[in-house]
C-alpha cells in the first residue's frame, strides 16, 4: 500500500511536470529551458488568487490559462522567430528563465505566503495518506486522457499531429503550421502552469520553485522520447517505479541519482526513448496482423 502510494506520488509528479515540456519538445523540437519558470508562473497566479479568496480549483484553472496566454505571448514575441532553430531556442529560453525568475523576485520578493493543502488525510492500517496527493494522481491520469482526446479526436489535434510528422506537407494541405506551433507552445505552457497550480498548495512559493521541477521533467522527457503521450506516460510509469523503489529502500539521494543513471542508460540503449520503442512494436504488430489476414 505504501509502495503504491509512493508510486502514485512519483508518477503524478513526473507526468504533470513533464507533459507540457514534452508536448513542446515533441511537436516543435524545442527544449524549453524556461519550463520550470512557466510552472512557477502558474503557481504564483494560483497562490495569489487563492489567498485572495478565489476557490482553489478555479484559481488553478486560471493559473493554467494565464500561463498559457503568457506562453502564447512569449511565442509570438520570441519563440516564433526561432522555429527550426532548436539550439538557438535553448539560449533564448534560458534567457527567458533568468528574466522570469529574477523578475518575479523583484516584483514580489523572495517568497510569498502560500495556501494550505486542502482535503486533509485518510488512513489505512498504520499509514496516513493525503487525499490531495491521491487526487493529484487522478488528475495526472485525467490530463493524459484529455491530451489523448485532443490529439486523437479533434481537428486541431489532427493538424498538430500532421505538423509534427512533416510541417511542409502539412502546410501544403492547408494547415497553418505557424499557428499550430503557437498553439502548441501556448498549450504546453498552460499545462506547465496547471502543474504549478496543482503543486502550489503543497510547496513553498518562491521564484526559484521552477528548478524543483526541472530535473524530473527533463529526465521524463528524455526517457519518453518525442511522443508526448505514449512516451511521457510510459517513462513516468517506469521512472516512478524506479524512484519509489530506490527512495523507500535507499533514501532520496539514491532516488535522485538513480533517476539520472536510468535516464543515461536508457537513451544509450533506446535512443528514441519509449516513443521509438512503441513505434517499433506497433509496426511489428501491424505486420503480423497483415500476415494473418
Amino acid at each position: 500500500m505504501s509502495y503504491l502510494y509512493q508510486f502514485c506520488n512519483n508518477f503524478s509528479f513526473l507526468i504533470l511536470s513533464a507533459i507540457g515540456l514534452s508536448i513542446i519538445f515533441g511537436m516543435m523540437g524545442i527544449i524549453n529551458l524556461a519550463h520550470g519558470e512557466f510552472i512557477m508562473l502558474g503557481a504564483y497566479i494560483t497562490t495569489f488568487l487563492a489567498t485572495a479568496g478565489v476557490p482553489l480549483p478555479v484559481a488553478i484553472l486560471i493559473g493554467a490559462l494565464g500561463t498559457g496566454v503568457f506562453g502564447f505571448l512569449i511565442d509570438r514575441l520570441i519563440i516564433s522567430h526561432l522555429y527550426n532553430r532548436p539550439l538557438d531556442s535553448v539560449v533564448a529560453t534560458w534567457g527567458i528563465s533568468l528574466i522570469m525568475c529574477q523578475g518575479m523576485r523583484i516584483l514580489f520578493g523572495s517568497s510569498i505566503p502560500g495556501t494550505s493543502t486542502p482535503l486533509g488525510s485518510f488512513s489505512i492500517g498504520d499509514g496516513k495518506y493525503s487525499v490531495y496527493r491521491i487526487l493529484l494522481a487522478v488528475i495526472a491520469l485525467l490530463v493524459v486522457v484529455a491530451v489523448y482526446f485532443i490529439f486523437m479526436h479533434t481537428k486541431i489535434g489532427l493538424h498538430a499531429r500532421a505538423t509534427m510528422q512533416n510541417s511542409s506537407i502539412a502546410s501544403s494541405m492547408g494547415v497553418n503550421s505557424n499557428k499550430m506551433y503557437a498553439l502548441t507552445f501556448a498549450f504546453g505552457s498552460a499545462l506547465a502552469g496547471f502543474c504549478g497550480g496543482l503543486y502550489a498548495p503543497t510547496m513553498s512559493i518562491t521564484p526559484d520553485i521552477g528548478s524543483n521541477f526541472m530535473m524530473e521533467s527533463f529526465v521524463t522527457v528524455i526517457v519518453g522520447g518525442t511522443n508526448p503521450l505514449v512516451g511521457t506516460v510510459l517513462s513516468g510509469g517506469v521512472l516512478g517505479l524506479v524512484r519509489s523503489f530506490l527512495e523507500m529502500n535507499m533514501g532520496t539521494f539514491a532516488g535522485r541519482v538513480g533517476l539520472l543513471v536510468v535516464a543515461i542508460l536508457f537513451i544509450r540503449l533506446v535512443p528514441k526513448g519509449f516513443s521509438g520503442l512503441v513505434d517499433n512494436i506497433r509496426k511489428k504488430m501491424e505486420v503480423k496482423k497483415h500476415a494473418k489476414n
Binding site: R282, K283, K284, V287
Partner: protein, 243 residues
C-alpha cells in the same frame, strides 16, 4: 563457384534482407556486379533501391544475408571502412556541404586520401574531371542543382574508388544537364571504373547502362541487358504510369 568468376565479380549480395520494425524493405536479394560493369538498378517508387544502396555502403546493417566486395566479406564492416577500401557513393539528396565553397567540399572528401602537400593539386584535378573548373569557387548553395550533383561525383571520386554508386545521378536535371551527366558516367566507366546506379528515367538508362536489375517490393523482379529488360512485358507492366 569457381575462383575464375570470383575474380571478375567486384561486388556481390547474397540473399540480403532488411526489415524496418516489421516492414520488409528488401527480401532475399541477390546481386553480382562484374568489374568494369555499368549496371543499373531500376524499380518503381518504394521498391527498395535506395535501401539496397544503404545496405551496400553500410549505412544500414543487413537483417540477414551477406555482402562481398572484392571477394571479401564486408557484411559487418563499418561504412567508413567500406569507403576506405574503395567504395564511393553519390547520394540521392545531394550530400554536399551547402554552406561551404566548392573547393572546401572537395578538400573535405579528398582530405582523407591525400597528403596535405598534394591536396591542392588533387582538388584541382577532381574539379577538372567533372568540368567545374570554370566557375570559380562559389559557396555550394549558390551552385545549380546539376553542378551540385557533379560536385558530389567529384567528391565521391576523391578516394579513387573501385566502385561508384550513383543514386539518381540525373534526377531533377534538364535535358542538357542530363546529357552531360550521361557523358560523364560513360567516360568514367570507359576509364575502367565500375558503376552501379539507380535511375527512374528509362531513356537515361538506355543511354548508358549495360546491365539492368529490376527491383519490385524489395525482391528481384528481373535481370538482364538493357535490351532484354526494356522489351520485357512484365517490367513494362509494373512501370506503367510509374515512369
Amino acid at each position: 563457384m569457381s575462383s575464375e568468376t570470383n575474380e571478375k565479380v567486384l561486388l556481390e549480395l547474397i540473399k540480403v534482407s532488411k526489415q524496418f520494425g516489421g516492414i520488409q524493405a528488401v527480401e532475399d536479394f541477390d546481386l553480382k556486379i562484374q568489374k568494369g560493369d555499368l549496371h543499373c538498378l531500376i524499380g518503381p517508387n518504394g521498391a527498395g533501391k535506395t535501401t539496397v544502396f544503404k545496405l551496400i555502403t553500410g549505412q544500414y546493417p543487413v537483417s540477414s544475408g551477406r555482402i562481398k566486395f572484392k571477394g571479401k566479406d564486408i557484411t559487418s564492416m563499418s561504412a567508413s571502412k567500406r569507403a576506405r577500401i574503395g567504395m564511393s557513393i553519390k547520394m540521392q539528396v545531394p550530400g554536399v556541404f551547402e554552406e561551404l565553397t566548392l573547393r572546401e567540399n572537395i578538400r573535405i572528401a579528398a582530405g582523407n586520401y591525400t597528403n596535405a602537400a598534394d591536396l591542392d593539386a588533387e582538388t584541382e584535378r577532381l574539379i577538372k574531371l567533372v568540368k567545374l573548373d570554370t566557375i570559380g569557387n562559389p559557396p555550394v548553395r549558390n551552385m545549380s542543382h546539376g553542378q551540385q550533383q557533379w560536385l558530389e561525383i567529384a567528391m565521391a571520386l576523391s578516394s579513387n574508388p573501385e566502385i561508384l554508386l550513383l543514386d539518381e545521378p540525373a534526377a531533377g536535371m534538364g535535358p542538357e544537364e542530363t546529357a552531360f551527366t550521361a557523358d560523364l558516367v560513360n567516360e568514367l566507366n570507359a576509364q575502367g571504373l565500375t558503376i552501379l546506379f539507380i535511375e527512374h528515367d528509362m531513356d537515361f538508362v538506355k543511354q548508358i547502362a549495360r546491365n539492368v536489375t529490376v527491383l519490385h517490393y524489395g525482391k528481384k523482379f528481373a535481370e538482364g541487358t538493357v535490351e532484354e529488360i526494356s522489351n520485357n512485358p512484365a517490367v513494362k507492366q509494373i512501370y506503367l504510369g510509374n515512369v
